[in-house]
């Protein structure tokens, strides 16, 4: 399970410019069967129709690389975060500090795209050595839409819970990374302990259960993986950030 958790390891410090190439999303002509097929595949992954995939299909590697590097991905992030804000702003919050919004971290609020981009790795298969190097550099930038949403939620009065599959050993690194990128306050930052369940659905469900047993009300729950959003104690409403690059069961 080290692999799965390594996916979720991101680290520290100064947020550099987003080092991805800003090429446009390649809209391939329809006559290329491959284009429509890869769009179908991406939508299938987002809608939870395709599950437990271990890597991007070979024929879609270029498509997914263009998507993740380009503006369509960012636009998709914007849409989800806008919709989340539209929902959140209509809620009546109790002023008891118990209305929380749960965010996953990796590729929900902090981006690992620079890692994949630097290796031109759009299959989404993690090389544990190089990923560890990336993680130790601590250059995960904020996902702009998520940062904007976070700030608005704080302003509305939500308490923020970051719930990540990253191991507790990385607590300090993660705190620095979050603060350096603008995520400056939170109610709880929950990392995975050695005794926690390896499976993301089970682990995250149990942590959310603890939150609710502690009197918190999970008004919103956002993640890039379906395993962030299913199971038990999923919250009043869930939001799926796009991620057709890797799958965490």
């Amino acid at each position: 399970m080290g692999f799965l958790c390594l996916i979720l390891v991101v680290t520290i410090t100064t947020s550099l410019a987003f080092p991805i190439n800003h090429q446009n999303y390649l809209v391939l002509p329809h006559s290329l069967q491959g284009s429509g097929a890869c769009l179908s595949w991406r939508v299938g992954a987002e809608a939870n129709n395709i599950r437990a995939w271990t890597q991007v299909p070979t024929k879609c590697v270029d498509y997914i690389g263009s998507y993740m590097s380009g503006s369509q991905y960012r636009q998709d992030c914007n849409l989800v975060c806008n919709e989340a804000y539209n929902y959140a702003k209509r809620l009546n919050l109790t002023n008891d500090g118990k209305d929380v919004w749960v965010f996953d971290v990796d590729d929900t609020i902090l981006s690992n795209i620079p890692y994949f981009s630097a290796e031109n790795n759009w299959q989404g298969v993690i090389n544990t050595t190089s990923f560890a190097e990336w993680a130790e550099k601590g250059e995960a930038p904020a996902i702009p839409a998520a940062l904007k949403l976070y700030k608005k939620l704080v302003k509305l009065g939500f308490k923020i819970v970051f719930l990540t599959g990253m191991y507790e050993q990385y607590t300090d690194i993660r705190i620095e990374n979050l603060k350096a990128t603008g995520f400056t306050e939170w109610e709880k930052l929950i990392l995975k302990g050695d005794n926690d369940e390896a499976n993301a659905v089970v682990y995250k469900s149990s942590k959310r259960k603890e939150l609710e047993e502690g009197g918190y009300r999970i008004r919103g729950n956002m993640g890039d993986q379906w395993s962030d959003l299913i199971g038990t104690n999923t919250g009043d409403r869930t939001f799926k950030m796009p991620n057709p690059l890797y799958y965490v069961p």
Copy 2:
């Protein structure tokens, strides 16, 4: 609730040629913000991020019309049905006739696109009068990918349950429509009674619960609406067929 149920009314008899225009899916250049925005919106709807929408956003009406009329929609249907078959063929079925596959009907296995196309109505807002006329004509064609899946599931030994929000008054019409389009056998065809809950999630959950209490095992559950797939007794696995044209809560 007549409106919601009317959405789910489809009728009888001879399957005509699919009378939609076979224009290609219009892939608009990326520079048109509207294009990427409408793709984001469509993906947002499929991923259940956008909920309770009452019509297609004005700026996306042409985009959704092209999508539903063109080959990308069909390709998306193919992908979901292929994935469903890949899942289904790996299951071990018990030969007791209790392994069932639940299908919603409208725009899951039978298509209302001819209705929307004839009126060039891609906002997805139902005109109850004209929709009733369409329904009474009984010309709802099979969705090709779903028909192919259905036939394969029958061959694998699944018992088929059709669970629709259409009212029981339409039973005969529906039976004729199903048979005429190639859906020739089923274990149960469940239509909505006057005393059933109007809300689709509640109604469909209660019917699935009855199935399971009757000893059936819901191995797969497929619908074009999230309200087909959430609630209780959702089955071992769900499949979301594409439908960015209307939303049934």
